[in-house]
């Protein structure tokens, strides 16, 4: 394989994207209808790309496995979307958003991509408002903002705790318009099962109609993968049940490199695990850290008494509580980046201070008492009551909280049966987002020509840790403002190609591969369910490739996953047949890919002898437990080539990350 060429345009950082756009090739409007584009996934990145390319006049085919494009998991994002608008006059700028993102990613992302992301962030907000996305507003009618972790400005736009939903429905409305106009053909309840490569170029996909089981061939001049992240490799995560790596993994199997697979974001504020039948974990938005304070008891005896139900958290006085984030990181306090907050919670729980009454004892408090008092007092003063009673302060404070976070508090109560207005929330870190993904160049093109990868499915913008409210930003930036240009630039060479036939040996071969896999699963005489294996994989990943990783643990994980893979193929039982709706078959094919990915994640984590962002190798930490990066040896993106069935044989390609415009430094939030 040739050397990785990131194709970063020449010139000053702030001019790269503009100059690049000015020099790109175009496809004239009358030629666009001769060109087909496939988009897999209809979340923020895929939905936005499909809509935009449809508007431009290309023939677009969009695919999603859900029953409607509106269900994509972008919908579950709660807190907000960042943009360098500086509406709050607190010193924000494109450069500052760029800088915060690079620093938040612990200096493991590509400067030029991140700068472009910050640059187009402002256009996203304009576009969404024009589409009718109902962002939160202030009484003057202008847009409201709040703060998120890892920043000292208020640049996060939001719609209560449902920002992802509103942005996705915005993209879905644009996509719906194009479907209605016949410019996008939508294939819902369809799953991509292979990529077809002809003469080195992506030329189509094999998809399965999940209702009829029909295997379909679809050809195109370019294929865009926007299929999201792979957090479900841990079985328990905040991802949707259907979220999977398969589309991205098929592309990887056909030759695209997969970069930084071990960079996973463990989100600090999720509802702790309740039992063995649990199917997923629920996030409590990072926006809550604007108002909530995180603590555990100072004394182990108190933590133990709480776990045993002998003591209530509200009975502990201020000086019996350890607000460990405020103690360790006074400059950012509860709003440190996610990886930092998660590790700090783990450190306390590992030390015996956890408060959850389950086997793991893993849980810390997220407490709103201080905020309820502060805001209640302010509200009373605003009403002219300068000597409010305790009960009035509480009542008004709770009302303020309800307005800001009402839906989250309700969700918490539904799940835990506890009232978070009265007793602090119990939270613990959970797998949330994956920074790694298919390697792409500046144009978001993978190492397969004509195969583009966008949103969470690619690796490009968040380095080793993503800042809150930046996933929505990246998804929409890629879909609305990057791919329409870069894909057109690629397609300019395709105007004479003509319709691509699906009757070719390459399509035959890909279809046969898919059919063989399906037959293999349905004819397997196994005994155990897909979930049985998926849960086992999840445990290996969480314990050994999770928040804390060590050389010995990773070596174990690699071996254990190898064994698990063999057992899976030998002993999995998939009921039903191939020509009907068969969710177990869908799951089996996804888990097969997750097992392979899991092993590569362990290999990648083992290769990276440093700690950075979400990747914490226990051997590499300072005396205070902070990450120790090794910029001399690991300042690169690790891009892996696929090795059939054994990730230990995967070949590593390095993309050195040059920091031309930012001075690389140790990350400090103290």
């Amino acid at each position: 394989m040739s050397k990785l060429d990131s194709k970063i345009p020449e010139g000053p950082l702030a001019d790269k994207w503009t100059n690049h756009k000015n020099n790109m090739k175009l496809v004239a409007p009358n030629n666009r209808s001769k060109i087909d584009v496939i988009v897999v996934g209809t979340g923020l990145a895929g939905g936005a790309a499909a809509a935009s390319l449809g508007e431009m006049g290309y023939n677009v085919k969009a695919f999603c496995f859900q029953d409607s494009p509106r269900r994509a998991h972008s919908i579950a994002a709660q807190g907000g979307i960042n943009a360098a608008k500086n509406y709050q006059n607190d010193g924000d700028s494109t450069y500052r958003l760029f800088y915060d993102t690079i620093k938040g990613g612990d200096y493991r992302s590509r400067e030029a991509n991140v700068y472009r992301l910050a640059e187009v962030s402002v256009n996203i907000i304009d576009q969404c408002v024009a589409q009718g996305v109902p962002f939160a507003r202030e009484y003057g009618g202008l847009l409201d903002n709040r703060s998120f972790g890892g920043t000292q400005v208020q640049r996060t736009f939001y719609a209560a705790g449902q920002t992802g939903q509103q942005l996705l429905l915005g993209a879905y409305s644009a996509l719906s318009r194009q479907i209605g106009l016949g410019r996008v053909k939508m294939y819902h309840r369809h799953e991509m099962l292979d990529l077809v490569v002809v003469d080195g170029k992506a030329r189509g996909i094999i998809a399965r109609n999940l209702i009829t089981g029909a295997i379909e061939r679809h050809s195109a001049h370019a294929v865009i993968i926007a299929s999201g992240g792979y957090g479900n490799v841990y079985f328990l995560s905040t991802n949707a049940m259907g979220s999977n790596v398969s589309a991205a993994w098929k592309v990887h199997k056909r030759g695209a490199l997969f970069a930084n697979p071990s960079f996973v974001q463990i989100h600090p504020t999720c509802i702790p695990v309740h039992g063995t039948n649990q199917s997923k974990l629920t996030l409590m938005s990072e926006s809550l850290r604007n108002s909530g304070r995180i603590w555990v008891p100072k004394k182990k005896e108190d933590a133990k008494a709480i776990r045993e139900g002998k003591l209530k958290p509200t009975e502990l006085s201020e000086d019996e509580r350890d607000y460990f984030l405020e103690r360790r990181y006074p400059a950012f306090g509860n709003l440190v980046p996610r990886d930092v907050a998660s590790r700090a919670a783990k450190e306390r729980c590992d030390g015996g201070y956890g408060i959850e009454a389950n086997d793991t004892q893993e849980g810390v408090y997220l407490d709103f008492e201080t905020e309820i008092r502060t805001k209640g007092r302010q509200a009373a003063f605003a009403q002219g009551d300068h000597n409010p009673s305790e009960s009035k302060i509480k009542e008004l404070g709770k009302k303020w909280i309800e307005e800001k976070y009402g839906n989250l508090f309700k969700m918490y109560e539904k799940i835990t049966d506890e009232n978070p207005y009265e007793t602090p929330m119990k939270i613990y870190p959970a797998v949330h987002y994956t920074m790694g993904g298919v390697w792409v160049d500046y144009n978001l093109q993978s190492t397969i020509e004509g195969c583009f990868v966008a949103g969470e499915a690619n690796f490009s913008d968040h380095g080793a840790n993503r800042l809150g409210a930046s996933a929505l930003m990246q998804g929409l930036a890629d879909g609305y403002f990057v791919l329409p240009y870069t894909v057109s630039d690629y397609l300019a060479n395709e105007i004479r190609t003509g319709k691509i036939s699906t009757e070719s040996p390459e399509f035959d071969e890909a279809e046969n591969r898919v059919k063989e896999t399906i037959d293999r699963f349905l004819n397997n005489k196994g005994k155990k369910s897909v979930d049985y294996f998926h849960k086992r994989l999840g445990l290996i990943m969480w314990n050994k490739v999770g928040m804390g990783r060590s050389k010995a643990g990773l070596n174990d994980a690699i071996k254990e996953i190898g064994v698990l893979r063999e057992e899976f193929y030998k002993d999995v039982f998939v009921p039903g047949d191939a020509h009907e709706l068969n969710p177990e078959l869908d799951k089996a094919m996804r888990v097969a890919d997750l097992i392979e990915l899991g092993q590569l994640m362990a290999v990648d984590a083992l290769n990276r002898n440093e700690s950075c962002g979400g990747h914490f190798r226990e051997e590499y930490q300072d005396s205070e437990g902070e990450t120790l990066r090794d910029d001399k040896n690991y300042k690169y993106a690790a891009a892996w080539a696929y090795a059939e069935g054994d990730a230990t044989k995967a070949k590593l390609h390095k993309e050195e990350l040059d920091y031309e415009f930012i001075k690389i430094a140790a990350r400090n939030y103290k």
Partner: protein, 254 residues
């Protein structure tokens, strides 16, 4: 809260495909944690069926945090079960008792044909949206600054409340007429309340209502079951607003 375990009987609608004849089947399930969600209980049933080499029950679900709108289920005669303001995925087994018999059916509506077991086809909602549920603005990022038009907070808040609809179809399933007026009314309202949406408000409401009628949804007779069962609390006001918009648009069109 203390976790307890309950034993239950389930009566579930099984139907091989859209053309097959369906029937209620009975299952017993033991040791269900009251901390489990309703769908985790169904996972447990399916695990039991798979271990007996039987075919699991097909049901729709995805995010399991009450926002994607994919889960459905008519539980003991109510959309999304006995709790209010919640989706099936956010319903927990602590709402049930040891020894309970629970009836689980798919959404029942002519416009939502059954795909298999508890899975229905809600693509009619997508087609209504395609008929007009959008503002006709192309991607450019150069429309105008997001703060160029101030929008009164009360309008923005009402638009948001309407936009909170998750498109699950509980309104249709709960309605004795199988009407989709709450769903369509919410979308029409979101745009009608915002200055950006006013420009094509007339065409929008006419086109969306036409598509709604073509899909075979029934009419609204102001019973209000939709509002009661809506997991997101979408208000009946939105139906009234749509009717107003429609009347104005129809009058102007003539």
């Amino acid at each position: 809260m203390a976790t307890t375990f309950i034993n239950i009987t389930l009566k579930i609608w099984r139907q091989k495909n859209v053309n097959a004849k369906g029937s209620m089947e009975s299952y017993t399930l033991d040791n269900v944690s009251t901390d489990s969600s309703f769908l985790e209980m169904l996972d447990q049933l399916n695990e039991q069926l798979i271990n007996q080499q039987k075919e699991p029950v097909a049901f729709d679900h995805d995010c399991r945090e009450g926002i994607c709108g994919m889960c459905s289920l008519y539980i003991n005669g109510r959309a999304h079960g006995p709790d209010t303001g919640t989706t099936t995925c956010q319903l927990h087994m602590r709402k049930f008792n040891d020894g309970d018999t629970i009836y689980i059916e798919p959404w029942r509506s002519r416009a939502f044909p059954i795909v298999k077991d508890l899975v229905v086809d809600r693509s009619a909602f997508d087609r209504i949206q395609q008929a007009g549920g959008f503002i006709s603005v192309n991607t450019s990022g150069r429309t105008m600054d997001a703060n160029a038009i101030p929008i009164p907070k009360s309008d923005a808040d009402k638009a948001f409340e309407a936009a909170a609809c998750i498109g699950c179809g509980a309104c249709v399933a709960s309605c004795k007429n199988g009407s989709a007026m709450l769903f369509v009314g919410a979308k029409v309202s979101q745009y009608a309340l915002l200055p950006q949406g006013k420009v094509e408000a007339k065409e929008r409401v006419i086109n969306m209502v036409r598509q709604m009628d073509q899909e075979g949804f029934g009419n609204c007779t102001n019973t209000g079951a939709c509002e009661v069962e809506c997991p997101k609390g979408i208000s009946l006001e939105n139906i009234a607003r749509m009717n107003r918009e429609y009347l104005c648009a129809a009058a102007k069109a003539d």
